[in-house]
Amino acid sequence: MASAILRVRGLVMDFGGVRAVDNCSLNVDEGSITGLIGPNGAGKTTLFNLIAGFHKPTAGRVTFRGERIDGLPTYLVFRKGIVRTFQIPRELRRMSVLENLMLVPSDQAGESMWRAVAARWLVKRQERAIEAQAREVLEFTGLSEVADIPAEGLSGGQKKLLELARTLMARPRMVLLDEPGAGVNPTLLRRLVGGIRRAREELGITFLIIEHDMGLVMRLCDHVIVMSEGAVLTQGTPAAVQQDERVVRAYLGA
């Protein structure tokens, strides 16, 4: 049995008077592809935002590889190795696809104002390495042909692939994917599934995925967590969850 890379314990999040996440506890196993499903308003995206540091939880804690990360600002959570994507792709529209990727790696020497001017040889050498990595990731995600066009020129599906590519650039330990399948045509979807599987197998990345296309969840995930009304309702293998009467009731609001 694999050990948990992410542990969420008793997490609560209030917005005004609304409790979006209500005493939620769950584990995500290292190296797994875990699906997070549940009816609208179950608190899935809020949970993502709490893990990624966009919100500070009202109560509870999140530990990642044994370290507490709840309440840390986003850029620090990112540096611990957790990267999230958005439901609606947020690419940098007027920057090229390649630049979108080259932005991602942390601690670039050239990101210091002084070194960008004074130590240009160092910056250039690093830039070459980062560009090589970016081209490799583009190859991996099948976006090589569009490397140099501005990201706004991509199709909806390609933008989804770009989101995945950007997360891979960060060499993350864990990726939070928010509805990777929405609006992606079947061909690109197959590529996306292949990309996620290879990233797990070759790079050892753990995935936590919010997805409504149950077909995709069944194909992709080893483990499914069902959320309802801000907490975990049940979890298990995709097939077990599918048969669970409580899950059906949660969806249909019995």
């Binding site: 850029y75 007027r94 920057m95 990101e111 104002m113 960008a116 240009r120 960060a170």
Partner: protein, 336 residues
């Protein structure tokens, strides 16, 4: 005529420096600063107060000079042809503006765009009012007027403008090359990312606030250096030069006309706007009124925003492309 052109070129150079600073703020980072005049004034006064000569007896007023340091620095050796005190003055201007920008930026940068604009406008007006009212600091509305010449004693007074033009161009070139290197560096890439979508930049692990603060201070320092250059050009400054109109708006006009976020926008914009501004005096009578300038530059800005939102620079590069294409075609025809 040559004198006019020299003076014209100097001012274009100085305004290009300001616009370069504003391009760092708005063009590359998306910081909406309408208080350029504040940093302009800080740089100009810092450089002037450090280098100003004591007033001769017929000029004595009942105010205190804060500095009177030029005399002391004048004794220092000249390294090559370079005035040490001049370099010191530019550095002082940078340091003062950097310090103020750091404080102001730390407080205001988290503000939404229009709040930041109001805050910067308020700060610029406050700076101007301090220099206007605190006579012990800057001689009030009369300003400072015994600012020394660069290369004084080496270059004859009648050649000052031509020499100073070279000085301005050298300073501008150094700043321009520095900015170009920065913009094309990973640092500049992060800034462009922030300008496009702060959330994405944040989600890519960038400490957005730190980058914005750095850009704010850098742009302000460039404006401060511009202020110092301005002071040594006229060799007299007064608070009336730092009104929102002359100190801020005309620089925004230059950036908008040039095309914000484009490397060459400062030069192109400064040339066009300053050309209209100072060229209008050669027009026939009713049009040569200085008041026509305000009106025409205001209208120009609005027209550019409505009809050519990317500014004039892309139009120029399109003309250049067409020109090179035609030349290539002609050469190809000739080779056949």
């Amino acid at each position: 005529m040559l004198e006019f052109l020299t003076a014209f070129a100097i001012l274009i150079g100085i305004y290009s420096v300001f616009t370069l600073g504003l391009n760092v703020h708005w063009g590359y980072t998306g910081l909406f600063n309408i208080g350029v005049a504040g940093f302009f004034a800080l740089g100009a006064y810092a450089a002037s107060l450090l280098t100003i000569r004591p007033p001769s007896s017929d000029q004595v007023d009942d105010y205190l000079y804060a500095g009177d340091l030029a005399n002391r620095l004048e004794g220092l050796p000249v390294i090559g042809a370079l005035d040490v005190w001049f370099v010191a003055a530019l550095m002082a201007a940078s340091l003062v503006t950097a310090a103020v920008a750091l404080v102001v930026g730390t407080i205001t940068i988290r503000l939404r765009g229009d709040y930041l604009a109001i805050a910067t406008l308020g700060i610029a007006e406050s700076v101007r009012l301090v220099f206007l009212n605190e006579r012990w600091l800057g001689n009030g509305s009369k300003g400072l007027y015994t600012i020394p010449r660069v290369f004084d004693g080496i270059v004859p007074a009648q050649d000052y403008d031509r020499v100073y033009l070279v000085v301005v161009l050298v300073v501008f070139a150094a700043l321009f090359l520095g900015i170009r290197a920065l913009v094309h560096s990973p640092w500049g890439r992060v800034l462009r990312a922030i300008r496009e979508d702060e959330v994405t930049a944040e989600a890519s692990g960038k400490h957005v606030f730190r980058f914005k603060l750095q850009a704010f201070v850098l742009g302000a320092v460039i404006m401060g250096i511009g202020g110092a250059l301005y002071a040594f050009n006229l060799r007299a400054i007064s608070p009336s030069a730092f009104t929102p109109l002359l100190g801020t708006f005309i620089i925004w006009a230059m950036l908008v006309v040039g095309g914000s976020g484009r490397l060459y926008a400062p030069i192109v914009g400064a040339f066009i706007v300053w050309g209209i501004w100072s060229g209008s005096q050669f027009l026939p009578d009713p049009l040569s009124s200085p008041n026509v300038r305000y009106f025409s530059v205001g209208v120009l800005v609005v027209l550019v925003l409505v009809y050519a939102p990317d500014g004039v620079t892309p139009l120029l590069s399109r003309v250049r492309e067409r020109w090179t294409a035609r030349r290539r075609l002609r050469r190809a025809v000739a080779e056949e």
